[in-house]
């Protein structure tokens, strides 16, 4: 297992490098820069600013400098939010995004797996059909439609929950988390159903059934763990979906998370901020994929690597 982790972390390095360099180059060949405001700056001021942030050097030198600083865990200064470092901005915003994303992931996993398992146990019956149709409908619900809709119904019409910003309690979390979790729930339910339905048809399950072992015991002891392998494989994409969904959810519900910084940063040409967010998200997604592989091994020992 240690070897698996080590190898995966090593292969993650070129992937991360590729995405950093790609984003870096994309940002720089774009027209406009962080110092273009309403009023053009005096040429000397502009030159001084660019020199201060290293923008006067060649592109390859800049990439090299950036990577060097990154290796020390330094994301550099923000070019638009003066006096703020990117690390500082991220440190403030990341907990909000992680809280929303983490809650949504848990809700989607619990709800999705329950729906999927129930449907698989009723495979071929109308409950199965109805649940799977429902799951497909859930996957078709974009967060930017459900977000405003939930805010309208539960916030404005019923007045039960806050629709904008944070408050002291945790009630501000409920609507964003639900909107974010719905499509992921549908996807998890479909995967869990397919996994368990396939597993229940396998020979060793039929053998166990033939020996007269109680259905619930079969489910718990033999079928459940391997049936969840497809769900685990979805962890990486789910993390990516939640992170992107959060961009919209944070905008809709006015929450100070990473997504807003990303879009604002890209529009303002705040190079270090955008690069910081992209790098962090790429690392998170790679980490989630690794995590998924570790869960595979636990769920299905055949997939453990020696």
């Amino acid at each position: 297992m240690g070897r698996l982790i080590a190898r995966r972390l090593l292969t993650a390095i070129p992937t991360l490098l590729a995405i950093i360099i790609l984003s870096f180059v994309l940002m720089r060949i774009a027209p406009g820069g962080p110092f273009d405001g309403e009023r053009p700056l005096a040429p000397e001021v502009r030159a001084a600013l660019e020199a201060a942030y290293g923008l006067d050097k060649s592109l390859s030198e800049q990439v090299w400098m950036y990577l060097g600083r990154l290796a020390h865990g330094d994301f550099g200064p923000s070019m638009v939010y003066r006096d703020f470092t990117v690390s500082g901005l991220i440190a403030e915003a990341l907990p909000v995004s992680l809280l929303i994303g983490g809650c949504a992931l848990m809700l989607a996993a619990v709800l999705g797996i329950s729906i999927g398992l129930w449907a698989a146990l009723r495979a071929g019956k109308w409950q199965d059909e109805a649940l799977m149709l429902g799951a497909t409908l859930l996957t078709a619900l974009p967060t930017f439609v459900t977000g405003p809709l939930l805010a309208l119904v539960f916030g404005l019409w019923l007045g039960w929950l806050p629709v904008s910003g944070q408050n002291d309690g945790l009630s501000w979390l409920i609507l964003p988390v639900i909107a974010l979790a719905l499509p992921v729930t549908g996807a998890v339910a479909k995967l869990a159903r397919a996994g368990l339905a396939g597993e229940l048809g396998a020979d060793h399950i039929r053998a166990a059934r033939a020996r007269g072992i109680a259905p619930l015991t079969i489910l718990r002891r033999h079928a459940l763990r391997p049936a969840l392998v497809p769900v685990a494989s979805y962890l990486g994409p789910a993390a990516a979906a939640l992170l992107t969904g959060a961009v919209v959810i944070e905008t809709v519900f006015g929450l100070p998370g990473m997504g807003r910084y990303f879009v604002q940063g890209a529009l303002n040409r705040d190079y270090p901020l955008v690069l910081g967010v992209v790098t962090l998200y790429a690392a998170l997604i790679i980490l989630f994929n690794l995590f998924a592989d570790l869960i595979y091994g636990w769920l299905d020992p055949r997939m453990r690597e020696g």
């Binding site: 070129p14 992937t15 590729a18 995405i19 790609l22 984003s23 994309l26 940002m27 060949i29 774009a30 149709l133 497909t136 409908l137 996957t139 078709a140 619900l141 974009p142 930017f144 439609v145 977000g147 405003p148 809709l149 805010a151 309208l152 404005l156 990486g236 994409p237 990516a240 992170l243 992107t244 961009v247 919209v248 905008t251 809709v252 990303f262 879009v263 890209a266 529009l267 955008v274 967010v277 992209v278 998200y281 790429a282 997604i285 790679i286 994929n289």
Partner: protein
Amino acid sequence: MKPALIIVALIALAALLVPPLLPYDHIAIDWDSVRAGLFTDGHLLGTDDLGRDRLARLLVGTRVTVSVALAAALVALVIGVTWGAIAGWVGGRTDELMMRIVDGLYALPFMFVVILLMVVFGRSILLVFLGIGFVEWLTMARVVRGQVIALKQRPFVLAAEAAGSPARATLLRHILPNVAGVAVAYLMLTVPQVVMIESFLSFLGLGVQEPLTSLGILVNEGAEEMDMHPAALLLPGGVLVALIACLTIAGERFRDRLADAAK
């Protein structure tokens, strides 16, 4: 599969055929009835805060969303089929390398790269679908590669090779036609994905730009006035969800039917 396809066809037909019949187009401003309610004379769905006909905007927005989705899905189809067919056909180290690249790309936060692209290169509609197409070809490549590898072992392909058919002819005449079914199934599943991404970008103001409109833009506008005008959010949102759901259902049924037929 059928009811889902019928709903999609109805939406597409309405978006194509109805706008020319309406008294107003999607950018015409009717100064006499700004913010008209539902079922107002001449404006079936009322007008928005600029006095533009909501029905015309909804239909034109649907049309733009569907065309961008089709174009992007075709880009994904071309790249995915080419990539997957070459990897599967050539095999060996080339295959290994090409599929490693696909695996690597899967791990990237691609939505963010697309957002970057949109911000960076202005927001032309051409770029919207090229960008989305470049993101969505990965699954297609994987599926096509698997199919090509399976086909390579089939007797009729071996027979063609034994009879001296050149590689190019075998690939074009015997392999690709048999990949078509699966490719179409995944094309059908790619379209709703692209609809989702396009609306997402347009919602953030990074996709389709005014005076053109799209379902994402309409949902965004609707969200801003939903307390006064719930229909402004519900209608484009509803059409969007119906499109995505029906396309997904139809695509999945088609894919499952192909898989059953292959057994």
